[in-house]
């Protein structure tokens, strides 16, 4: 994928995370593949359809998911994630991908997005995806690392 398309996700992600969570967000090393294997995760997937098509999956470890949700909901709990927590993680993902769609539009790409879907489990939940073509962008925060996995194909180059 072209670097400018990846940057269309990176720049809005940093801005959204810093604004929504009120913490510093630092981009880690961007690599091919999927976020590192973790025992337990919450993943939020958003389908993308348009000039670029595929899916963007934002992955949180259980601990990061709890920290992010507590931060956004201004609470301090350690229990399993509630429906409200999951909707909060979904909304953060929605904001990241929605703002990225705006950047892509500035690059001449039109995109539509699906509502977010939350998956609890491991990355094997996404074993049907071709991970050799994916890009993972880690965003480091004091609440934990938020991994943005981008599986998009440029339909115009097919």
């Amino acid at each position: 994928m072209r670097a400018e398309y990846i940057n269309a996700f990176v720049d809005p992600a940093v801005i959204v995370i810093e604004k929504a969570l009120k913490v510093d967000a630092i981009v880690g090393k961007i690599t091919k593949g999927f976020s590192p294997s973790m025992e337990a995760t919450y993943s939020v997937a958003i389908g993308v359809k348009g000039d670029l098509s595929g899916v963007v999956i934002v992955v949180f470890s259980n601990e990061t998911a709890r920290n992010v949700s507590n931060n956004m909901l201004n609470k301090s709990t350690h229990s399993l994630l509630s429906q409200e927590d999951k909707e909060t993680l979904s909304e953060l993902t929605n904001m990241i991908v929605g703002n990225a769609a705006g950047k892509l539009y500035e690059l001449g790409l039109k995109e539509s997005l699906t509502p977010p879907a939350v998956v609890a489990g491991t990355q094997s939940s996404f074993s049907t995806l071709d991970m050799s073509e994916s890009i993972v962008v880690p965003i480091n925060t004091k609440l934990g690392v938020i991994y943005i996995n981008i599986f998009l194909k440029d339909k115009r180059s097919i």
Partner: protein, 118 residues
């Protein structure tokens, strides 16, 4: 008399955030809906002055709901509150009758400023 607001968003986080902001600003939040279809029925039942409407939602998206609501009541004020900040979506919403467009994540001052203009 305070203006009546219906909040439409599939995220409880956004519904609750907007409700808190609008409550503090003196608006009366008369109801909340989780998608466009529910928004149509709640609008008929609650007769709000303003609707805060998300764009990407299950069952019926915010732009479809906006078009229907405006066809029933052209005077209804609708503020789109969405993470989709692409210019084509903004124009599509404006053409469908939206009065304002707020991009998430939003700031309280911005929300209040927009709603007070209506």
């Amino acid at each position: 008399m305070s203006k009546k607001v219906l909040i439409v968003d599939d995220s409880s986080f956004i519904r609750n955030s907007l409700q808190a902001i609008l409550d503090r600003a003196g608006f009366e939040v008369v109801g909340m809906a989780q998608d466009g279809l529910e928004a149509i029925s709640k609008c008929k039942a609650l007769n709000p002055d303003i609707v805060a409407m998300d764009v990407i939602m299950p069952r019926m998206d915010g732009i479809q709901a906006l078009r229907l609501l405006k066809s029933f009541n052209a005077d209804l004020k609708v503020v789109m509150v969405t993470s989709m900040n692409a210019l084509d979506k903004v124009v599509e919403c404006k053409n469908a009758g939206a009065n304002h467009y707020i991009v998430k994540p939003f700031e309280e001052d911005k929300v209040i400023s927009v709603f007070k203009k209506l």
